[in-house]
Amino acid sequence: MKKLIDDVESVVPDALRGLAAAHPGLRVDVDNQIVFRASGSRPGKVGLVSGGGSGHEPLHAGFVGYGMLDAACAGEIFTSPVPDQMIEATTAVDSGAGVLHIVKNYTGDVLNFQMAAELSGEEGVRVESVLVDDDVAVRDSLYTAGRRGTGATVFVEKIAGALAETGAPLPEVARVAREVNARSRSFGVALSPCTTPAAGRPTFDLSDTEIELGIGIHGEPGRTRSAMRPARELVHIAMDAIHEDLPISGDTLVMVNGMGGTPLIELYIAYAAVVEHLAEKGARAARNLVGNYVTSLDMQGFSITVCRLNEELTRLWDAPVETPALRWGR
C-alpha cells in the first residue's frame, strides 16, 4: 500500500490540521474532530450540523461555511462520529433557533445522531433530524437497513443551508431538507475497490475486467457485478436505475461525482452522456456539479445524483455559498 500519509493512527487529525491551515474561514477543533465556521453562529439562524465517517472528503467538513453547514463532525475512516462530538457541535452552533442534524442513512450514523439529539435536547437545544437515503441500488429495504445516504447529502446541505441563512425557522429548514431528499436519487458504479489506511489492502476484490454496479460509498456491494463497459453504457444503467425509482422530468440538478480515484476527464465524458440521456427523456440539467464531492478514499468509479428541481429549490441552490468545496455568488 502506498499512501500519502505520515501515520496510520493519526490520518484524520493530520488531515484536519491541513484543512485548518488551508482555510482560515474554518475553526477546527482537532482534538474533538469538529469543524466550525470561524465566524461563529449568527443569532436567530438555525444551526446545521452534519458528520460521518472520514474518507469521503470534501464531505462533510468541506461544506462548512456561509450558506451550508455550521459544523461537521469527523469520525474515524468510514466510522460514525460519536455522540460527544455531535453534542459539542450542536450546543456550540445553537443560537437559540435550534439545530438541524443532517444524517446519512447508515446504522452507526443514525444511532449516534439519535443519541446526540436526545442528549442535546436534555441540555435545552431544540434539534430536528433529517435522514438522507437516496441510493436506489438498495432495493429491498424491508430486509436491509434501508437505502443508503450518498450524493444527495450535498444537495440537502446546500439547499437547507441557503434557507437557514434567510432566518427561516427550524421546521421550515427541516421541511426543505426532507423535500430535497425526497426529490433526489443516486446510483454508483465502482471500477476498483478502495483501500483504507488501517486495512492496508483493498476492501473487496474486483478483477481488471469487472465492475460493481450500485456500489456504496464505503465499498458496500451493490446490485450486481458486470463486465466493464463504455462510459455511455454505464451512465445509461445508472440513469435507468434512477428513472425507474423516480421518473426524471423537467429541470433537474445533476451531480456526476467522482469516487476519489477517477480523473476529471472521465467524469466529463460521463456528464456528456448524462446530458444526452436527459434530453432523450425530455428533461434537462438546469444545474450541475461535476467533480469529487462524496468520495470513497481512492476508489475508482462514479455516482450520479439527480434532483427534480422546483422554483424554490432552484432559487436556494443559486443562493450564495462560501465553503472550501462549493463557492459562488459571494
Binding site: E76, P83, Y106, G108, L111, Y143, A145, A199
Partner: protein, 246 residues
C-alpha cells in the same frame, strides 16, 4: 465501515483452530451457591471481567466483523470498555443501577459505530430498571437484562432472526427466566443464560442479516457468526465467570 462483498469465500478466521469462541471453564464451580450478594462490587467485577475478556478476544471479534462488516467491532468495543474502566476508576457509583447507567452512558459517548449506542442503551436501561436497590436478586437481574434487551430491540428495530446481538441476548434472558422459575441458584441460573447466549450466537451462522451494514450483503452474509451476537455472548459469559466465584 466497509463491507466485504467477497465475504462468501471462506476466510482464514474460519479455519484457524485457535480462533474459535472462548469456552466457558466455570461449569464445575456452579455446584456451590454464591456466598455474597450481587451488590455494586459484583457489578463492577462483571464490567471489569467483560473488559478483560473483550480485550483478550478482540482479534477474534474483529475477524468475525471482517467477514460481514467493517472489521472494527473488537477494536471499538475494547476502546469503549477501556473508557468505561477508566470512568469507574475515577468515580465509583454507590448502587448497581447507577453503575450500569454510568457504563451505558460512557459506551454511548465513546464507542461510535452501531455497537456503542446499542450496548450503551442495553446497560443504561438495565441500570435504570434496578433503581437504587443496593443488592440485586437474580429475579431483579432478569428484569434488568430484559429491559436492556427491550432497549436494544427498540433502538435497533431488530427482532430475533435478524442476525444481530438480539439473537444472543434474547435466549439468554429467556434462559435466566426459566432458571429462576425452576428455583436454580443464581450462579447456576446465570450459567444457563451464558450457555444460551453462546448457542444463540452460533445460531446466527446460517442466518441472512436484515439489519446493519451486513444486510447489504444479502445472501452473502450467510455462513458467518454475527460479531454483535458473539460479543454479547462474551458479556454474558463474563457475568457467569464472576457469579461462579462470588
Amino acid at each position: 465501515m466497509t463491507s466485504d462483498p467477497g465475504a462468501d469465500a471462506p476466510t482464514g478466521m474460519d479455519t484457524e483452530p485457535d480462533s474459535g469462541p472462548p469456552t466457558d471453564t466455570n461449569t464445575d464451580m456452579d455446584q456451590t451457591e454464591m456466598n455474597n450478594a450481587m451488590d455494586t462490587a459484583f457489578f463492577a467485577a462483571w464490567i471489569e471481567e467483560t473488559a478483560r475478556v473483550v480485550a483478550a478476544e478482540k482479534e477474534w471479534l474483529t475477524g468475525l466483523d471482517a467477514a460481514i462488516g467493517d472489521a472494527d467491532h473488537g477494536a471499538n468495543l475494547d476502546r469503549g470498555l477501556t473508557a468505561v474502566t477508566g470512568a469507574l476508576a475515577a468515580q465509583r457509583p454507590d448502587t448497581p443501577g447507577s453503575l450500569l447507567v454510568l457504563v451505558g452512558n460512557t459506551l454511548i459517548r465513546k464507542v461510535g459505530g452501531a455497537s456503542g449506542p446499542l450496548y450503551g442503551t442495553a446497560f443504561r436501561e438495565a441500570g435504570r430498571t434496578l433503581g437504587d436497590t443496593p443488592e440485586v436478586s437474580v429475579a431483579r437481574l432478569h428484569a434488568a437484562l430484559e429491559a436492556g434487551l427491550a432497549g436494544v430491540r427498540k433502538l435497533g428495530s431488530a427482532a430475533e432472526g435478524d442476525k444481530t446481538m438480539v439473537d444472543a441476548l434474547a435466549p439468554a434472558v429467556r434462559a435466566l427466566e426459566q432458571a429462576v422459575r425452576d428455583g436454580k441458584d443464581p450462579a447456576e441460573a446465570i450459567g444457563a443464560a451464558s450457555a444460551a447466549a453462546r448457542a444463540g450466537a452460533e445460531a446466527t451462522i446460517p442466518m441472512q442479516a436484515r439489519k446493519g451494514r451486513a444486510s447489504y450483503l444479502g445472501p452473502r452474509s450467510v455462513g458467518h457468526e454475527d460479531p454483535g451476537a458473539a460479543s454479547t455472548a462474551l458479556v454474558v459469559s463474563a457475568l457467569h465467570t464472576v457469579a461462579a466465584s462470588w
